[in-house]
C-alpha cells in the first residue's frame, strides 16, 4: 500500500553563503547526507512523498549571492544562473526577444506560484523526460557549467547532460552553476508546442521545440527538440539532417516530421499510449516547422 505523507521528514537545514561553502559540504557527503535544492518545487513534494531518500540536511542554495542572474552579451550569449526562477526566465525581456522558444517553454510550466519558486536549472537537474525547458534548451545548443570544490569546473553540452529518467551526468559533488546559450543565429525563428490534456498545470504528453532559419528559400540551422517521447529529452537528428540546407517544400516537411516520429521512443503510460505519442510527434513537428516559416 502506498502511504501518503503530508509532512516533511525530519531533517536539518543549512543555507551556505557562497558556492564554495556549498561545494565544500557536497565534497564530504557520504550516503546523500546533504541534499541541495534551489526552488524546492520538485524536491519538497518528493521528500513529502518519501519518493527520494531523506537527507540529514537540506542545503538551501538561495543564500548564495549573484546566482540568480540572467545576463546577455552579444558575444558570449546568454547566462542563466542556478537561482534564476522559471518566472524570471519567462518574463525576461531579453529572453522574450532573443530566445522566444525558451520564454514560451518556461511559461508553459505548472503555475505562477510554482514558476515564482522553481528554477530552470532545477527543471533540467530533475531530468524528467517531459521537462518543458529541455526541448527549448536542446534547440538552443545550451551548455551547462558544472562546478565542484577548489575551482573544479566543466562544461557539458545539453545533448550529453541527460542520462535517463531523473538521471543526469551531474556528480554528487557538483552543482550546476549556470546555463550558457550562444547568441542565436540572425533571423532564426523558433517555437515550443506542448501537448497536454489541460492547457495549464499539466505535464507534456509530447513537447516539441523547433528552431530554424530560412535563408533564400532553404532551411538552415535546423534544431528539433522532443520531450516526453524517450527516456530523456532528445534531438531528432535525422529529421534535422533531412531539412538542413534543403529547399523548403511541403513534402520534405512531411517526410522530416515522419522521420522525427520514427526517431522517438515513447512509452505507454497513464497519460498516453506510445502509439499516440508517436503520431503526435509527427503532427506537432510538422506544425512547428510551418509556424517557424
Amino acid at each position: 500500500m502506498v502511504t501518503f505523507y503530508r509532512r516533511l521528514p525530519k531533517m536539518g537545514y543549512v543555507k551556505p553563503g557562497s558556492l564554495e561553502e556549498a561545494l565544500e559540504l557536497l565534497e564530504k557527503n557520504p550516503n546523500g547526507r546533504y541534499r541541495v535544492y534551489a526552488g524546492g518545487t520538485d524536491v519538497i513534494p518528493k521528500l513529502k512523498g518519501r519518493v527520494i531518500q531523506s537527507p540529514e540536511i537540506l542545503v538551501d542554495l538561495k543564500g548564495v549571492s549573484d546566482l540568480d542572474h540572467i545576463d546577455f552579451d552579444e558575444q558570449k550569449g546568454l547566462y542563466i544562473g542556478a537561482l534564476a526562477t522559471v518566472r524570471s526566465v519567462e518574463t525576461s525581456p531579453v529572453i522574450k526577444e532573443r530566445y522566444p522558444i525558451l520564454s514560451q517553454a518556461a511559461g508553459s510550466i505548472a503555475s505562477i506560484q510554482v514558476r515564482n519558486r522553481g528554477t530552470i536549472t532545477g527543471n533540467i537537474c530533475n531530468a524528467v523526460p517531459s521537462a518543458d525547458s529541455a526541448p527549448a534548451l536542446l534547440c538552443l545548443d545550451a551548455r551547462v557549467l558544472l562546478y565542484s570544490k577548489n575551482g573544479g569546473e566543466r562544461t557539458v553540452d545539453i545533448t550529453d547532460f541527460f542520462k535517463g529518467p531523473g538521471l543526469t551526468v551531474l556528480q554528487p559533488n557538483e552543482i550546476l552553476r549556470e546555463i550558457n546559450i550562444s547568441a542565436s543565429p540572425e533571423n532564426s525563428r523558433s517555437v515550443y508546442i506542448k501537448l497536454s490534456p489541460r492547457s495549464r498545470m499539466d505535464l507534456a504528453v509530447v513537447g516539441v521545440g523547433v528552431l530554424l532559419t530560412k535563408t533564400n528559400g532553404t532551411f538552415r540551422n535546423v534544431r528539433i527538440g522532443l520531450g516526453a517521447v524517450a527516456p530523456t529529452p532528445i534531438r531528432a537528428l535525422k529529421a534535422e539532417a533531412m531539412l538542413e540546407g534543403s529547399e523548403v517544400n511541403d513534402d520534405l516537411i512531411i517526410n522530416a516530421a515522419r522521420t522525427a516520429s520514427e526517431e522517438s521512443r515513447p512509452i505507454d503510460d497513464h497519460r498516453a499510449s506510445a502509439e499516440y505519442r508517436k503520431m503526435m510527434v509527427e503532427v506537432l513537428v510538422k506544425r512547428a516547422i510551418h509556424q517557424c516559416l
Partner: protein, 159 residues
C-alpha cells in the same frame, strides 16, 4: 535537531519565531500563528489553496520550508482587510458570489490580488493565466472570473 530562529514580517507585523527546519510555511502559519485562512489542499503544489504572497510574489506555502520566511514579508488572506473594510478583491468575491464551498477562496484571492497588483486591467485570458494554479471544484470558474473583473473595475484609480 536545532530550531532555527527566524524574523519576518507577517501581515504587516514583525515576528520573531523559532521553527523546526522540516516544517513548512503553511504548517507554521496554520498551527503556530492560527492563521487558518490559508488552506492545505494537495500538499504538493498542484492545487494552490495554500497560496500566500511572499516578497510580493505568490507561492505555494506547502512547498516553502518555514525557515525560508526569514527576512521576508508575508501576506496571507488575514492581512488583506483593513479592520472591517474588506479588500476590493474580497468585496468583489462576496458581491459576485465568486465562491461556493470557499475552500479554494483564500488562495484564489491571493492569486487574484497578485495578478491585479501587476496588471490592473487584465483581459479574461490573463485572468485565466493568473489563477491557473488555483483549482476550484465548485464554481466552474465563471463567477470567479466575474469577481476578478469586478475587482479590477473597483480598484481603478488606485483604490
Amino acid at each position: 535537531m536545532a530550531m532555527k530562529k527566524i524574523k519576518f514580517v507577517l501581515n504587516g507585523e514583525t515576528c520573531e519565531w523559532e521553527v523546526k527546519p522540516w516544517r513548512t510555511l503553511l504548517e507554521m502559519l496554520r498551527e503556530d500563528f492560527q492563521l487558518t485562512g490559508t488552506k492545505e489542499g494537495c500538499g504538493e503544489g498542484e492545487c494552490g489553496s495554500c497560496t500566500v504572497i511572499m516578497g510580493g510574489k505568490t507561492v505555494n506555502s506547502c512547498l516553502v520550508p518555514a525557515v525560508e520566511a526569514d527576512g521576508q514579508e508575508i501576506l496571507t488572506i488575514e492581512g488583506l482587510a483593513h479592520g472591517e473594510n474588506l479588500h476590493p478583491v474580497q468585496e468583489a468575491f462576496v458581491e459576485k458570489a465568486g465562491m461556493q464551498c470557499g475552500f479554494c477562496t483564500p488562495g484564489m484571492i491571493m492569486s487574484a490580488k497578485a495578478l491585479l497588483d501587476e496588471n490592473p486591467e487584465p483581459s479574461e485570458n490573463e485572468i485565466r493565466e493568473g489563477i491557473a494554479g488555483n483549482f476550484c471544484r465548485c464554481t466552474g470558474y465563471t463567477k470567479i472570473f466575474e469577481s476578478i473583473q469586478a475587482a479590477a473595475e473597483a480598484m481603478k484609480g488606485g483604490k
